[in-house]
Subunit: 331 residues, 4 copies
């Protein structure tokens, strides 16, 4: 079976992953309308292609908060990579480094931050975190990440409670016994989502700021009002995101929310977007609408499920080739 486009990896993952793992990765909240809108919205956006421009040499490198990457795609934070491939996030880290892009490691990794760092020394990585009721837990994670050379902190702000993903409820989804949320070992006796603090507000950005010198990127913004608040509270970056449609069903597609956020921000901070990226032309559309970079979640997991580090590189290389070709063809 030739792996020609990202859908091929999706089909492979659906076929070969255990149903409970596939369902977990694929899950959207409620009726999955926002998850699906993320993709449909890209289809509705149309290029105005220009011709007869010299596209013989194209530079697709860019910078994220000053750090150069090979093309404007990164790995969005998703949990439980060992569900997709035995080496889990270590493979993810290696593939990201090999492709010279940014990998946002999730708090809910099945490898420790230390293992991730060791697996791909010198890779460009950010660390994604939640705010726990027990702030000391969050604080220790931030300090570990900073000490290990992670270059940014991505605060997920759209999960005061976990969205209702029907298939996960039906499946009684939980991690298999041999996998662990290793980054949280020792922090809690029993690790559940109810440890998250739903009382977090914008003021907690100042608390986070006080813990670290790393740039803070806030993830989960969908409106101009929140974008303005983010800038005022001193973040360095915004990820326009609806958590892959896994939280509030009925919200907008991220690519539809992007323009509003970009306009509000007026270049004061960098704006990224995740959700629904399936082709190189989707990347180009996001950039044309003002994103500095996009992040891919599920496609990275499909790549892992296919062949681990190598499969993820395949996915990224296809995206890179498609992105370059789209740029050339759009002039």
């Amino acid at each position: 079976m030739a792996m020609v486009c990202l859908s091929d990896f999706e089909a492979y993952a659906k076929k070969y992953l255990p149903k409970i793992a596939w369902d977990f990765f694929a899950a959207g909240a409620d009726d999955c309308s926002t998850r699906d809108e993320n993709i449909l919205a890209y289809e509705r956006i149309r290029f105005r292609p220009r011709i007869l421009r010299d596209v013989s040499v194209m530079d697709i490198r860019t910078k994220l908060l000053g750090t150069e990457i090979s093309f404007p795609v990164g790995i969005a934070p998703t949990g439980f990579h060992q569900l997709a491939w035995p080496d889990g996030e270590k493979s993810t880290a290696r593939a990201a480094k090999a492709m010279d892009i940014c990998y946002i490691a999730s708090t809910y990794s099945t490898c420790t931050l230390e293992e991730i760092s060791t697996a791909a020394p010198g890779g460009f990585r950010w660390f994604q975190l939640y705010t726990y009721r027990n702030r000391a837990v969050s604080q220790r994670l931030v300090q570990r990440a900073e000490a290990l050379g992670f270059q940014g902190l991505v605060l997920t702000a759209d999960l005061p409670y976990t969205g209702k993903r029907r298939d996960d409820v039906r499946n009684g989804f939980r991690l298999p016994p041999h996998m662990k949320l290793k980054n949280l070992e020792g922090a809690f006796e029993v690790c559940t989502m109810s440890l998250l603090d739903p009382s977090v507000t914008w003021n907690d950005i100042y608390w986070l700021r006080s813990l670290t010198h790393l740039p803070i990127i806030i993830k989960g913004i969908l409106t101009k009002e929140d974008a303005e608040l983010a800038v005022r509270h001193g973040v360095q970056g915004i990820v326009v995101s609806n958590h892959g449609g896994r939280q509030l069903d009925g919200g907008p597609a991220t690519i539809d929310a992007l323009a509003e956020v970009v306009e509000a921000v007026q270049g004061r901070v960098e704006v990224y977007v995740d959700g629904g990226i399936r082709k190189g032309s989707d990347v180009l559309k996001a950039l044309a609408l003002g994103a500095k970079c996009v992040f891919v979640g599920r496609p990275a997991l499909w790549g892992l499920a296919y062949k681990g580090e190598e499969g993820l590189q395949d996915v990224l290389r296809i995206l890179q080739d498609e992105f370059r070709l789209s740029m050339a063809l759009a002039g």
Copy 2:
């Protein structure tokens, strides 16, 4: 089979109810386009979710005409609950009381108002009525309801004649011989829809007013013109409703009509809506558009069909949990 969302109860009811009962509950007029629009219209409405608000404590209690309820969902008036569960409306009354919400008992109940009252003493209930050619019948019903402690009268105003529900015609739908329209026993020799008075006009609101001290809620309004008339004729509440799409096919979805009614009413009376509510996020959408409370019809019947009083509580609890979660996730 895990009952995770309201659609699970719908699937159960479709599978286990006698076809003639399922068809009757599911029926819409003509091509059922309005019935289906009620649901589709919710899908088209998109949230603008806000983040980093303190959602650790949320009060979802509200008041209907001064009476507190546990969350802004009530039981819409539907007939013939014994078709769904042997105990019929007695179970409905118990579930509503247990959940601390408002139950609008239908004239076409298969239990008497007295049985309903006795089944769940002290429950918060309104009584739904039609206007009969023989006004004395309506008058007696009003007086019984008031005497039994019902706290409001819901006048259904969109049924001068019964809509054409094709499956009911094909099935030759009628109540099984062991069920009765008990509230009307003795009132008529033969009880048919043709006893309803199609000559009712706004002036009959004054007649109804003269019979009772209870607040009057009018059900079936879909336009600002009629909303204005309702306010002028002194009603206390409006249910924006198209009778579940069972009357005039080709009318608007209720959630689409809601905004127009709310704007016309300008807070002078309370506005509610029924039709198409299938998820907690639908409730939130209706409230965001100005409804004080929503009422659910078919989902309550599915709950009854599943496990009577207990099943209906399951349905309501799911709606409540989903509503609370949606509020938190929408900020």
Copy 3:
């Protein structure tokens, strides 16, 4: 099988008519997009239902050019009724008379005008005609119709050539040998569509006017420009029609074109519409948009195919009941 709505008759006709006859009646031009739009456009139109109006007495009678009919539905001109029922147009005439409505008899009837008149003496009928290269043929038809008591002439103006109906081409459609275009017997040696005159213009209305005292209704208008021309050339009525989607594929739905024509005409002549009427509520929508009456084509043929005169009456009675109910429910 209960015949509850017009779709039931359609299903019956599709099942029991010879394929070649069903295909001929069902045919639309090219991809049938205009034929299907005729129906879809009605679905898009939404009522604003009003309540609490006295709908106990409703008068659904109306007048066509001064002649009273029992409700605002008539029989559109369609050819070859013997393909649907052995008695052909004689049955149609009897049903229309029994229902007290207007029947527009087609030139391409399989009964003579004389047979039609004799079958239902005193019925309200118009005669539909084309303009032949040999004007004497048209003239004789007009004179026969007038002499037989037909009360109007409907000039079909959208068929300079016959539209391309793919199934008819594939089927090699032609009348079975035992059926004849009886009205044209003797007029031509071989009767084909190429006898029609594609050079007809508005001036030919004057020629038609000179032949008869009957009112002239022009059928096939879809634009305000042509509506204005029709009025200026002295016609008495306009049928907004796209020939059931059988002529130019890609034109508008008739109900969409109706408003433009009504506005242009400003009440100077009566405006009717055909195409896509399948429910009583469709009739009401057309009237709300300014039509004086609607005409049904294919549904009449389905009624004939079901049980001849009796089946057609069934169809009309259903439409009448549905129309009356829609009026009541829409207030």
Copy 4:
């Protein structure tokens, strides 16, 4: 099997062509959304049909840059006609000449320009070319075409690189060994797409101008900006084209882009369009929106696949008849 419309030829070709050839001809880039939009966009355009105009005599002849053709349809440049029919482009040339229309021969023909000329002497033909890194190759092709009596040069400007057609990648598409890109024999050692020059800009129009006296038509324009540039650089014609949806997926349908180009050009050069033409009424729509002529690509290949020269004539004759009929019915 009666061949009634172009879809019949499509079905035939799909059934009888080798899969690899069918896939190549049918291919669109990525998800084929632009390829499919080309067709869907025509469906959305609606006529405003006029009646009672004298359509007995209609002149459907027109001129392309001064040369008369029998009706406003030509053969778009497509490659590899021997994949569809053994005689390849020789058959195409004969059919185009027989029908008295313009045939744009592709550089990627499987017959030489000389063979094409000899097959149908005196036919009206343009030559389509790319710009090679080795300009001498392009130059020789231009000179051969001019010497052979080709009357125009069509510069394809939307292929700096080849679009990603997934099926071709999966199939490992390449020409069968017994077919050759005969026009390029001797020009390159190995003939691949990477010989094309992606650095071509508008200035290369001047270079092309210097090589030939033939009119230059530029193909692949989709925006008013590029249309303006084309006029300023002195071309004689523009083909609004997205390469049949085979290049950048996500661009507009050509018929949607046409109006913008026509308005920008203001009649200074002739504007043509290709992509999505499947019916005579599509031709009429394109002309109504300002195109001087349309070109058909895949339908011509289906005709060839059916019966070579004869099959292509069948396709063209159907288009011609449908176009004439549409004109008559639209008034």
